[in-house]
Amino acid sequence: MDAAAPRPKENQGEPLPRVDARLKVTGQAHYPADLPAASIAYGALATSSIARGKVTKLRLDDARAVPGVLDIVTYGDMDKIDKPKFGNSSATSIGPLHDRTIFHDGQIIALAVAETFEAAEEAAQLIRAEYEEDKPTASFDSPGTKTVAAAGKSPMFKEDVKAGDFDAAFAAAAVKIDQRYSTPTQHHNPIELFSTTAYWQGDQLVVHEPSQNVTGWKVELARQLKMDPANVRIVSPFIGGAFGSKGPMTPRTAIVAVAAKRLGRPVRCVTSRMQAFGTQTYRAETRHRIRIGAGKDGRITAFAHEGWEVTSRPDLYVVGGTSATGRMYGYGSVLTHVSLVQADRNTPGYMRSPPETPYVYALENAMDEMAVALGMDPVEFRRINEPKTEPIGKKPFSSRSLIQCYDQAAEAFGWARRDPKIGAMRDGEWLIGMGCATAIYPTAVAPCAARVRLTVDGDVRLQCGSHEIGTGVRTVAGQMASERLGVAIDKISVEMGDSSLPPAPVSGGSISTASVCSAVLKACDAIRTKLFAAATAEGGPLAGSHNEEFDLADGKIVAKSGASAKVENVLKAMQVGAIEEYAEFAPKGATPEALKKLYAGTPEFHGGEQDEDSVKYAFGAEFVEVRINRYTREIRVPRIVGAFAAGRIMNTRTARSQLMGGMIWGIGQALHEATEVDRRYARYVNRDLQDYLVPVNADIKDLQVILVPEIDHAVNPAGVKGLGELGNVGTAAAVASAVFHATGKRIRDLPIRIEQLLV
């Protein structure tokens, strides 16, 4: 069988090709900046070249003189609209054109609009700002940072988790480590650039923009523009990579909408890759101190994780990964604390597994160090510390297949052939290292609505305001409908990415498959109930068979007894052309306001560590082999194996693709990715793909994904655990572990680069 389409095991769906695969590879999938709009004008941003101060003067004459320039939107032009409100739908509270204060490098100072893209860009480049400049604060250790406790500063991070008496346990521990780790600034750099196209039809505003949150944006944009949300529509049928960067709306959207209103014609603004570094969100740099104490038997008795995260001056963005690291193993005692460090930077935001990527990297690198300190095999060390209940609230895990993941990945990788002695494994001039680490991601689910219509011709139309960010959610939603309605996938059309569709939650937190499939399941089951009732009603084709169990297959209602009736005939008997059901799914534990909040664009998340009955996580184990040249020390990863268990797998092809992409990203995080901040100016330096490195094809050789069967009915009706953000967690620690095995050098600061191995 094709490696891209793994044979489904227990509780795993068929590897159907993506329903939009052909559209995508033939260029027929239209991304927001491709959508047509008549007599369009083009916008280009001008951005600040300082990180802190005030714009004292803006020289616009040269820009206005460029032939074809139509308008320049700048200070004063946004006064009648409201500033953004920092939160899940809005990347920042900075209204860049509302006041002349500069909070960060690359802040928007104007939008030039012209008849052509080239003229707009030229005009934007000719806008000259004069500044009153203050000395900016770049990052950790820069003079002028302000440090605040993170707990309670975000609804997503309520407290620093703890359990037992860490200090006493750590003091008494026979074996201990106390180490510091760090992760760099990173930017998402999706290949599809950021863009906004806006046009007005009377009082109605339509925005084409790549978005992971069309409902939230509709409401937030309407608030900024003081409009009825019913008059705002966000359209985002396909997204060319998002990774969290297209989750919160940025101030550009309202600025382009205002420009379109002023001109009375559509305006499209595509941000350059360089400008995206300052006008979008990013993963801020983090620091960690980890202390682990254990007995000689390897049982951990004390675990402390302190984290520091950079954020902007105006907005307290928190990731707070201690919620997951504090529950990872059966620690005897836990102490955690997260601090925010404010600097003159743009506000960070969600980036694929925002809390887990940096925090689990630090934990897993520390776990490997601890295994070395104990003289223990790192897999065995984790096995010994496998918990019965999570250590903070003592709740059970709804399911936890971590050890199965370790066993299957270790077997496939050939871990047994590893000689644990440092530097013992070689191939000619190349040192070989092998390492491993745990992946974890909380399993959440949110309310979601969907509309499903089954016609007399056997066609199905599925509508849901979720977002195809490349994960395959259209395909798995279609698969769910196909399964429940007994209709082939090619008879199902799936519409997503439009705020006029039934609302879905933000496509973040790996909740989409679980939430969307649960809503589709509910709508389909309502259709089934209607069909079965009509079929068995008096005069119906299956009249009289009341206590039967029915299913739908191949366009027929099939009774357990073997009797069947064509769906087409049942609909005809009902004298309808179609059955359409609009379903609103709310997860177990949802508040009475949960559905209202869904429509308001502020959906509740449930699951993870929040539920009363159990904590809910997906797990995985990753093993990597590194090769390091004896002389020149370049690091390559020729082999990586990951095994993951995530409840019901809707489609093994799209699941593997997500996990594979995550693992590759994890290799990039280990070895390549970092946004460099010029500390003198608090400005980003390597603002393009020439200098912001990610792995290329030649870097990825032998990669294997194992989908470990797991059944979990507690997580949601679909039984699905999100896995979109699982694959890139832990990878960097596995690489660090392998680098140590090859060289004896423990690298604690990412990315691991050649210069760290030369000394």
Binding site: S49, E118, E121, E122, Q125, M274, E429, N629, Y631, T632, R633, E634, R636, L671, H672, E676, V677, D678, R680, V685, N686, R687, D688, Q690, D691, L693, P695, V696, N697, A698, D699, R753, I754, E755, L758, V759
Partner: protein
């Protein structure tokens, strides 16, 4: 991007005449109003970024002289037409066999797509990718003379440790040029003041006080060919490129090496270093150390020390001295061990 006039001269003399019309004797080719374009993989990028601002582009791709597109390998050496694409030269069978250092330097550069577009002459004239040069809001003496150098005390991990000045430490990132300078190549040009033959080693200029003057060329001068004299022992040569990822990245350090061996004793060595210097860099001191010596770990190490004796590190690029030395040692030993 600013509007510009686009012209397609059809022969070399027409191209030179056009350039002469729109430039002056003192114009630098990279700063002149009229500039030549061939593959466009570097210039078009810099025009979009506002780093290069010619108002007239003279496209050389329509020049009818066929020799511009030909590779000739004879007993006298190689003659590369200036418009030969990097990919063609990298895949040329005789060059791969007889001068592997040249083929490898081309093959390890850029990406397949870029190699299919970029011309050989354009490749050797590629400009630095210094982050502070690429982005117009930074101070840069090369882009805007006298404005200062933001890289000097900034993030300078990619920057040069050899051939820099107090005005500029921008790295010359090319690979092919290292093979050419090691093999004593010569550049043939035509301009309004006639035809010239410029030793490759004289083509590029170290930054000194004038980092905006990058080459010895006049603004109306076109490279028509690159000649590499015959090197009978060229089969024992290689290009080693060390970088952060496996492909499509600039060298952190590289070495072009060719060796004439008598048993294990070096009769003659040719060495050039990439990724570490402001211009294509011939390591003559290292060559001299090796001459007449047995090539082993010790002599290779001594050669590497000599190559970097004058190196000047900055905050983030100090590792390039150690890496550069190890790269050269590894390249020398691997060249010695080649089966030719």
């Amino acid at each position: 991007m600013r509007p510009f006039v686009y012209e397609q001269p059809t022969d070399i003399s027409a191209a030179v005449a056009l350039a002469s019309n729109f430039t002056t004797r003192d114009d630098q080719p990279t700063r002149a109003n009229a500039q030549f374009i061939a593959g466009g993989t570097n210039l078009a990028d810099y025009m979009k970024l506002g780093v290069a601002e010619p108002n007239r582009l003279l496209d050389l791709n329509r020049l009818e002289e066929q020799k511009l597109r030909q590779i000739r390998v004879t007993e006298d050496g190689i003659r590369f037409g200036a418009l030969v694409r990097m990919g063609e030269a990298a895949d040329h069978r005789e060059i791969k066999e007889r001068y592997p250092v040249i083929a490898e330097s081309l093959h390890l550069a850029a990406s397949g797509q870029i190699r299919n577009m970029a011309s050989l002459a354009g490749n050797v004239l590629q400009r630095t990718r210094c982050e502070y040069f690429r982005e117009t809001s930074w101070a840069c003496n090369k882009r805007m003379p006298g404005s200062g150098c933001a890289a000097m005390d900034g993030f300078n991990r990619q920057h040069a440790v050899l051939g820099g000045s107090t005005a500029c430490i921008a790295t010359y990132h090319g690979d092919f040029a290292q093979a050419l300078i090691a093999l004593d190549a010569v550049v043939l040009t035509e301009g309004s003041r006639g035809a010239r033959k410029i030793p490759f080693a004289k083509l590029h200029r170290q930054p000194g006080d004038t980092p905006h003057i990058e080459t010895d060329l006049a603004a109306d001068e076109i490279i028509t060919a690159i000649e590499v004299p015959a090197l009978p022992w060229g089969r024992r040569s290689l290009y080693l490129k060390i970088r952060d990822r496996e492909s499509y990245a600039f060298a952190l350090a590289s070495a072009a090496v060719a060796l004439d061996l008598d048993g294990e004793t070096v009769r003659e060595a040719r060495i050039a270093l990439g990724g570490v210097a402001t211009v294509p860099w011939r390591a003559s001191a290292a060559e001299e150390v090796l001459q007449g010596k047995k090539l082993d770990d010790a002599s290779a190490g001594a050669a590497a020390d000599a190559a970097f004796a004058e190196a000047q590190p900055r905050q983030h690029n100090a590792f390039k001295i150690e890496l550069g030395k190890r790269t050269l040692v590894r390249a020398l030993l691997e060249t010695r061990d080649m089966k030719v």
